[in-house]
């Protein structure tokens, strides 16, 4: 439910995995067939040197060629991108489940309201051990997430029905239908 960019996670793992496999295979080759691996390394280096433009070797500062500086800049960009990736994990939590300013005044419903309502509705059920309500923003819409802890042998559709009834009574009070997502976990 969180707004983690999953495609970014997949792409990063794909790229890093491929590079790690390549490096690992090369290192293992050094141990297994040193001549072959060293020849590959030499050829790769030759190819790189042959294709790099002249100005790469120019030294804007003594001892620091453009190639080194470009390398450093690339490292900085990769570090920055990875920090963005870390920053993008999680997130998307919302404090309110409903914010409505269409009618007279403003109506805000906090997650605690829904939490109390559902706890009341499920209190009579011995197979329910815990109820937790959180709100997330999905596609610019607040969505209520209800996590229900189920003891052994709870019948899922019965719990689902109890939650549905509670949510429908909330619908009537609010005059609006909140998007509600329920997860039943062992707990």
């Amino acid at each position: 439910m969180r707004s983690t960019s999953r495609i970014a996670n997949r792409l990063w793992l794909l790229l890093a995995g491929l590079l790690l496999i390549l490096g690992g295979v090369l290192l293992a080759m050094l141990g297994l067939y040193p001549e072959l691996a060293l020849r590959w390394l030499g050829e790769a280096q030759q190819w790189g040197l042959g294709h790099a433009p002249e100005w790469w070797y120019a030294e804007p500062w003594p001892g620091a060629s453009w190639a080194t500086l470009i390398g450093l800049a690339l490292v900085a960009v990769v570090i920055l991108l990875l920090l963005v990736l870390l920053w993008k994990q999680g997130g998307g939590k919302a404090r309110l489940v409903l914010r409505d300013s269409s009618s007279v005044g403003e109506l805000n419903i906090a997650t605690a309201v829904v939490q109390d309502l559902l706890e009341d509705a499920l209190r009579s059920r011995p197979e329910v051990s815990a109820v937790r309500v959180r709100a997330y923003t999905v596609k610019r819409q607040e969505v209520v997430q209800v996590s229900v802890g189920c003891r052994r042998a709870a019948a899922p559709q019965q719990i689902r029905a109890a939650v549905t009834r509670a949510v429908e009574s909330l619908d009537q009070v609010l005059g609006a239908e909140l998007p509600v997502f329920v997860e039943l976990n062992r707990g």
């Binding site: 439910m1 969180r2 999953r6 970014a8 996670n9 792409l11 793992l13 794909l14 890093a16 995995g17 491929l18 590079l19 790690l20 496999i21 490096g23 690992g24 295979v25 090369l26 290192l27 293992a28 050094l30 141990g31 297994l32 040193p34 060293l38 390394l41 001892g63 080194t68 450093l72 490292v75 900085a76 990769v78 570090i79 990875l82 990736l85 870390l86 994990q89 999680g90 999905v138 596609k139 819409q141 969505v143 189920c150 052994r152 042998a153 709870a154 019948a155 899922p156 559709q157 689902r160 429908e168 239908e177 998007p179 509600v180 997502f181 329920v182 997860e183 039943l184 976990n185 062992r186």
Partner: protein, 187 residues
């Protein structure tokens, strides 16, 4: 049930985000890159390296004992393969959709397994400890080990559990298979 928000929620709640492998590997790579960049800058400034300069790190890798090269290379390649699998595998979580009106719900396979175990024990008139249930994506395998002298009809148990599964309106649904093990010896 098929609004874009619903589709996104169900998809996200039934598949992993890969947040942990992606974050862990990103942190490791950031640390390594920051260190590498520091070593390069130190070398450019003519200072002595923190741990080891980049060219001598490369030489050290090439001159390492072949066994260490193979071991380290193999470890890198295995790690890379794990990341590749994490990236490309579907990453399904062990939960399924509980179909119904008004709200969206998913249920953990653990909860289903608990329910099936209890119903199987009732249907077969055995004690709950004698029943083991394994739930995979499309099948539930029920293993009953009755006490000595007790007879259990697997067909009857399967029929009862099929009803339970049908009542739960699971998506994907489960096909129940019941196996009665030879009675355990009384010790």
């Amino acid at each position: 049930m098929t609004t874009p928000v619903a589709q996104r929620i169900i998809r996200r709640e039934t598949h992993r985000s890969r947040s942990i492998p992606a974050s862990l590997s990103a942190v490791v790579v950031i640390v390594v890159l920051v260190w590498l960049a520091t070593e390069i800058v130190l070398q450019l400034m003519g200072r002595s390296p923190l741990l080891v300069s980049v060219p001598s790190l490369f030489d050290w890798g090439v001159q390492m004992h072949p066994w260490w090269q193979m071991l380290a290379g193999g470890l890198f390649a295995i790690l890379g393969l794990m990341m590749l699998i994490a990236s490309l595998a579907p990453g399904r979580r062990a939960r399924r959709v509980l179909s119904g009106d008004r709200i969206w719900a998913v249920v953990s396979d653990d909860v289903i397994a608990d329910l099936l175990a209890k119903r199987a024990a009732l249907a077969g008139s055995v004690s709950p400890e004698d029943v083991r249930v394994r739930v995979s994506r499309r099948h539930a395998l029920v293993e009953i080990t009755p006490a000595l002298g007790q007879v259990v009809d697997p067909e009857a148990v399967t029929r009862r559990l099929d009803d339970t599964v049908t009542d739960a309106h699971l998506d994907p649904t489960l096909q129940v298979r019941t196996r009665v093990q030879p009675a355990r010896k009384v010790s």
